[in-house]
């Protein structure tokens, strides 16, 4: 078997094997305790912190030569950072890459879950900026770890309640907190709450890496993921009056595109692969 060409002087997928082993041990623990933030010896990566170093370390630890990698940012394969991360792994692993959601075995994402439902043989790796869902209520890590240990999540419900009292709505539209497997409150990373329902009982393994904060957590396949809410204010997702201006989808997350300086705007799918696939199918039929 001929190994794919990778950059000279570097190990397959950049990290050394000891580091990969350390990350895999943290991943196993994370999978065993769904939603629990496992501290890990996060390494410096050749990309800046906040640009996906956690997700990249997780991907580097699990990627194999037979994997097919897809990288998205804001749902799109062609945003600059997605291009850059995909190029990094192509350069340092030589594995195949794709933009097609259903072809990928490993998907690294920032801020979205693909619209196309994932299946059992896929792993979704999230880039996480702030893994601690309680951080904006309690800045101290010492305190928040204690709160998780004691399942003391009252403050989170108070925050949501205060939103309703003030705005009539829960004023969190992305990074909307979830409860995993009936135990840990978890930050789903800054995905729009539109994507939250896709996490629930997903057949795919979901892994979360926070590089700067040095935490890994996971949602194993077919695990309950509930978005926090109240009986009289049930969780709901974003809706648009418009459909996608390119493919006509009414069920996808839409990005607003400004057309002029007169307030003219239109909406298009944030998931570029979903949009392209729909368009191709329509052209086939026509």
């Amino acid at each position: 078997m001929s190994a794919p060409a990778t950059r000279a002087g570097y190990n397959f997928a950049y990290l050394d094997e000891q580091t990969k082993g350390m990350i895999r041990r943290a991943l196993l623990k994370a999978v065993a305790i769904p939603g629990y933030q496992v501290p890990f010896g996060g390494r410096e990566m050749p990309m800046p912190y906040g640009w996906g170093t956690g997700g990249m370390q997780v991907s580097a630890a699990i990627i194999g030569r037979d994997d097919c990698l897809k990288v998205i940012d804001q749902g799109a394969d062609d945003t600059t950072n997605a291009v850059s991360i995909r190029a990094f792994f192509r350069d340092l692993t030589g594995v195949a890459t794709t933009e097609r959601t259903e072809q990928a075995t490993l998907i690294q994402t920032r801020h979205r879950i693909p619209e196309t439902p994932l299946h059992e043989d896929q792993i979704l790796v999230y880039q996480v900026p702030i893994p601690e869902p309680l951080r904006f209520i309690e800045p101290s890590e010492v305190e928040t770890r204690k709160m998780h240990a004691l399942e003391d999540y009252g403050v989170m419900h108070i925050k949501l309640y205060e939103d309703i009292a003030q705005f009539g709505h829960i004023a969190t539209s992305y990074a909307y907190p979830v409860r995993v497997n009936g135990r840990y409150v978890m930050d789903p990373s800054p995905i729009p709450k539109f994507d939250n329902p896709k996490m629930d009982h997903s057949p795919a393994l979901q892994l979360f890496g926070a590089g700067r904060e040095k935490r890994i957590y996971a949602v194993p396949p077919y695990t309950e993921v509930r978005s926090l809410d109240f009986a009289d204010h049930p969780f709901e997702v974003q809706r648009w009056d418009q459909c996608c201006a390119i493919c006509g989808a009414t069920d996808s997350f839409l990005d607003e595109v400004i057309l002029d300086d007169q307030g003219g705007h239109t909406f298009i799918c944030s998931d570029t692969d979903y949009c392209r696939t729909r368009l191709a199918r329509q052209e086939e039929k026509a």
Binding site: Y10, N11, Y14, D16, P39, F40, G41, G42, R43, E44, M45, P46, P48, Y49, G50, W51, T53, D73, Q74, G75, A76, D78, T79, T80, N81, V83, S84, A87, R110, H111, R112, P129, S140, E141, V142, F167, G168, H169, A171, S173, Y174, A175, P190, I191, P192, K193, F194, R212, K214, Q238, W240, A245, F253, L254, D255, E256, V257, L259, I268, S270
Partner: protein, 369 residues
């Protein structure tokens, strides 16, 4: 159809080409060499080595060249290289008492065993721009000093130069530092947990941003966590690095490091045994980095607040705040990530804001005043 502007591989490649061109500057000026940076911008190299956590002048100089002089970017480059290096062994602790002294001053004693050695310092220079440096070629050599100064380190280990704080410790006036013999923490291998162990704290401070630590140290002098510091001793020089190979069982010297060490004498407190003693702060960095070492010592002392029965109310005294924000590679990364697209999150906020406003409008219509 309007096509959303999104970056592609070609745009990135073109931006990198432009960056390389800008870094090189006007082609008619001679290109700067890594050796020139090492020799003539030596203090920049020292800062990059300290905060980049790699003692290698050539690599640090290369990073500065590649980063076009942006030192935080250079530190980042060096850290990203460091992360790929295998670890062979841990060295023995360096012994700064046996330093080849290049500079050594104490602000607490006029004279002391080993003497005061001013060494190369900006202290006492007049900060007047020297226009003679504008001229091409070498400026006129200064008059040779009346005595020749031996700058080359001697081949053998120099005689020990006793440390000021050790002298005070021997008199029982200074709180002691004790080696508990524990394996020191390595925050580059294991994530920090709070409260931190002292070794993790000192490691984070050495790697911490000089500007951030300087401001925090300064804030303690202005009343936010006052700790009454004296510069007990600052010393700069080469120290030997020893390892004990398993197959030999005794230490051998593998090289030398130039380090800057600062120990502060701080306000006294009554200790557990009922005695009153001075407290202390410790700062260390690679190369010549006096400002950093002093700032680090001030912050190290401030972070001992709770050990000395002080209430930790000021920023410099709060370990989790200081240590989790002092790393400039982490900080610069997370601040700069705001440049990445946030279309999806912003769209979610837009949609919510519009819905709240729409709900308020329709409520207003139903309920005429």
């Amino acid at each position: 159809m309007y096509v959303a502007v999104k970056g592609g591989e070609r745009a990135i490649a073109a931006a990198h080409t432009l960056l390389a061109k800008r870094r090189r500057g006007a082609p008619e000026t001679p290109e700067i060499g890594v050796a020139q940076i090492d020799q003539q911008l030596a203090l920049a190299v020292d800062r990059v080595m300290t905060e980049g956590s790699v003692y290698d002048r050539e690599l640090a100089a290369l990073a500065i060249k590649q980063a076009a002089g942006d030192l935080v970017e250079a530190i980042f480059l060096l850290r990203a290289y460091r992360t790929t290096l295998p670890r062979f062994t841990s060295s023995e602790p360096i012994d700064t008492t046996h330093m080849h002294i290049e500079r050594r001053i104490s602000a607490t004693y006029k004279d002391l065993p080993g003497g005061q050695v001013l060494g190369p310092t900006f202290d006492y220079t007049h900060r007047l721009l020297d226009f003679s440096l504008l001229a091409e070629g070498e400026p006129a050599a200064p008059a040779p000093p009346s005595e020749t100064v031996d700058t080359a380190p001697a081949a053998s280990q120099p005689p020990p130069t006793p440390r000021v704080l050790e002298l005070l410790e021997r008199e029982g006036l200074m709180i002691g530092e004790h080696d508990r013999g524990d394996e020191p923490t390595d925050i580059t291998q294991d994530p920090p947990t709070y409260p931190c162990d002292r070794s993790a704290r000192l490691q984070a401070l050495v790697r911490g941003d000089e500007g951030f630590l300087l401001a925090l140290g300064y804030s303690t002098q202005r009343g936010y966590g006052r700790n009454h510091p004296f510069a007990g001793e600052i010393r700069i020089g080469e120290v030997e690095v020893e390892i004990v190979p398993e197959e030999l069982g005794f230490p051998i010297t593998i090289g030398t490091l130039q380090v800057t060490e600062c120990e502060t004498v701080n306000g006294f407190t009554r200790h557990d045994d009922g005695e009153v003693r001075f407290t202390r702060g410790y700062g260390l960095g690679l190369g010549q980095c006096e400002r950093k070492a002093m700032a680090m010592a001030l912050v190290d002392r401030a972070l001992q607040a709770e050990d000395h029965g002080e209430t930790a109310v000021s920023p410099a005294q709060q370990e989790e705040f200081v240590l989790s924000h002092c790393d400039n590679v982490e900080a610069a990364g997370f601040v700069s990530h705001l440049k990445l697209p946030h279309y999806v999150d912003f769209q979610s906020e837009l949609e919510l804001l519009r819905r709240i406003r729409a709900a308020a409008d329709s409520a207003g219509e139903e309920d005429p005043a």
